[in-house]
Amino acid sequence: MTSHTPLLSLTDITKRFGTLIANNAISLDLHQGEILALLGENGAGKTTLMNILFGHYVQDEGTVRVAAGGDVMTTLPPGSPGAALAAGIGMVHQHFTLAENLSGLDNIRLGTEPLLSFGRRHAARAKVEKIITESGLDVDLDRRVDGLTVGEKQRVEILKALYRDARVLILDEPTAVLTPQEAEGLFAVLRRLAANGLGVIFISHKLGEVLAVSHRIMVLRAGEQAGELVTAQADRRAIADLMVGKAVAEVTRTPGARGRALVEFQSVSLGKPGHRAALHGVSFDLRAGEVVGLAGVSGNGQSAIAALISGLAVPDSGTMRLYGDPVTRADPRRLVAAGVARMPEDRQHDGVVGTMSVADNIAIEEVRSPGFSRYGFIDAKAIRARATAAIAAYDVRCPGPDAEARLLSGGNVQKLILARVLERAPRVILANQPTRGLDIGAQAEVHRRIIAARDRGAAVLVISEDLDELFALSDRFLVIHAGEITDAGPAETLDRATVGLLMAGQTHTPETLAS
């Protein structure tokens, strides 16, 4: 399957940001038809390496070479995405690079035609449609990108690369925001593309998919090349050891003591009636001392549930009760004061104010409380003291409490939020996508904290698209589909297939399913 000369060859790539060495003399080869997985902890330097390869960043040292026919390899000029594209390198970024005001087709055409030409749209469409048929990357080409789902956007990104006859495709954490079904579809496409001779590099934190899809695994650790494995000979343990440099402790969950209902939803509706993402007469409760997993394909009403428990909205009809009292005003502050811990789905966007300090971000929910301010004046000392303690307790890796939060990596932002909300011993916890994009070490840490809070007697709702995560954490499952919730029962009575069916909208009760 692999030919003699590699498609792509990186030699001794070094990149520094100030004093930080993000990549230290990294070399790698990629061959035709090969799927290479790039692994490493948050901040290990994976994205940086790919950004150099694609010309977004300029390396300080080292070369990028690509096959140019026969045995010849040419060196790419640094810092030129144009040259990388011309050399057949396509990249799907961790954060999509799509113009949302254009259609999928226009995003694909962008930059491929002489600027002042016209009338080439037709030919372009024909070519894209041909690629779609061959690859199975189905997407509505004429819809504006802001109207597409995340999965569709990603397909547009891949089409962008294929349209330019990419021979190398790079995907940076492609599955972090995909549903399991979408991820499956993506892998099918990747396999097919590789079979047709494409070389693929993909970055992921999910070991399961890495083992399932890749041929070869390369691990980065703190900017260094930690090692390489052939997938067929690798297992989770070996990879984890390479990544973290030490064994990762598995989180174990012992059965808890279920208490009284702390949160009750009674026929709650919210949002446009008939809309998929709205809630339609939903009833459930969250009890003290249990973790409830809310499974479902994203966009089925999870956001509405999260908004309600976060205090950003109140039901249009029905009642939501907290400790037995109905919640009638959308006021996050009140919920916080009442002991509800809320972790936002999009932590960079909703969780932290990037230009404020770590300390301020830890205090932000409670600045008005007497602990942090007096007569309207901030008590900076108290805030700093609390932050210093929290940083230590939750192992938030940052230069200090005064560092700006935007400098933190995703995993550390999540730890910051944990520190903010868990430190007050909350009675109710909303954990919305708690480990999205986090490396396995960080994931384990977050899980441990959640379980610990449950053991203290908190009621926890975990919203996640990652079934592995839900099974690792949940005592009980709720499944949401098209704004309606099914109580799927205790985790012990369920398996992935059953939950998957419910997520797809099969309306069976647990009893009929069990039979």
């Binding site: 810092g79 995405p81 144009g82 949302e100 005001n101 995003n107 002489p114 002042l116 016209f118």
Partner: protein
């Protein structure tokens, strides 16, 4: 009611509306191009002044009328280049740079005019553009006087609306400009230059703004006066939002504004002191605000507007 009917039924009224709208069409197109690429250009008011002065001065010093138009466009382009350098290359505040450009272009124009013509106390005049009567079409009823009493610059403005719309929606260049104003990373990832596109858009857009000024001194009138731009540039900034950054709606917005203005002029002359004159003068602004409030929810902002972009930085 009769008054209204008389006004709206008259060809002269519509001819006036188009005349009043012409500088706005240039300006709003220019602002639209800049903003589509993600750059707010508050230099517009000053660039109007510079275009008005430079174009006129060139003709006064002996250039042909079209030579004057070219000089105006180049002057606008030069100020656009400065704005682009400050905001696109250096990533400085678009608000401040814009206001600085307005101050610079205005004061430089005034200073140049006064230094070039120190002993003038009655403004000298040029022979301006004359109305363009295509093959006697001005004899057509109604449409004749409305359309064919206009000068070549008005026709140029109308032509530019079509041209800008075509480029924006039918060429890869337009695609790139729309993309760079929405998400510069999308353009960079496709191998195009964010900086290059933005500089180009700001330079071209500013050249168009200057033509709006040139219209005032070379078509609507034949001399340059201090203060004659009189807020027309700022109006264009409002019209761009009203137009949701679309050339067709920009034309419509400019024409509507021209019609309001032509209307209030006539109403003021007709019904006089029933209400203070300022009420009429306020009308176009108040109606602009009202229109903005009404279209606001639907407005499709270029998402990257006001956001500088630096290569190699996460955004």
């Amino acid at each position: 009611m009769d008054v209204l009917f008389d006004i709206f039924g008259s060809a002269n009224f519509w001819a006036a509306a188009i005349r009043i709208a012409t500088p706005l069409i240039f300006g709003v197109l220019g602002a639209l191009i800049c903003e589509r690429a993600g750059v707010l250009n508050l230099g517009i008011e000053g660039i109007f002044v510079a275009g008005a002065m430079a174009g006129w001065l060139a003709v006064y010093l002996g250039a042909g009328l079209w030579g004057g138009v070219l000089v105006a466009a180049l002057t606008g382009a030069a100020f656009g280049l400065l704005h682009a350098f400050l905001t696109v290359v250096l990533g400085l505040s678009q608000h401040v740079s814009g206001i600085g450009i307005t101050l610079l272009a205005t004061s430089a124009s005034y200073f140049t005019y006064r230094t070039a013509l120190p002993d003038v106390s009655s403004p000298p005049r040029i022979v301006p553009f004359q109305s363009l009567d295509l093959a006697g079409l001005s004899d057509l009823p109604f449409f004749g006087p409305v359309l064919f009493s206009q000068t070549a610059l008005t026709w140029l403005a109308l032509l530019l609306v079509a041209l800008v719309a075509f480029v924006l929606y039918r060429t890869p260049l337009g695609l790139s400009i729309r993309a760079v104003g929405d998400n510069p990373a999308s353009v960079e990832a496709q191998g195009l230059s964010v900086i290059g596109l933005r500089i180009g858009a700001v330079v071209v857009g500013s050249a168009l703004m200057a033509l709006g000024g040139a219209f005032l001194t070379m078509s609507a009138f034949d001399a340059f006066f201090f203060g004659m731009v009189n807020g027309r540039g700022w109006i264009c900034i409002a019209l761009v939002v009203f137009a949701s950054w679309q050339p067709g709606k920009a034309l419509l917005g400019a024409l509507l504004f021209g019609a309001f203005d032509a209307f209030q002029i006539r109403l003021q002359a007709e019904i006089g002191q029933v209400v203070p004159g300022q009420v009429f003068l306020m009308l176009p602004y108040l109606l602009s605000i009202l229109a903005l409030v009404l279209v606001a929810r639907k407005a499709d902002y270029p998402r990257a507007l006001l956001q500088p972009w630096t290569k190699g930085q996460r955004h």
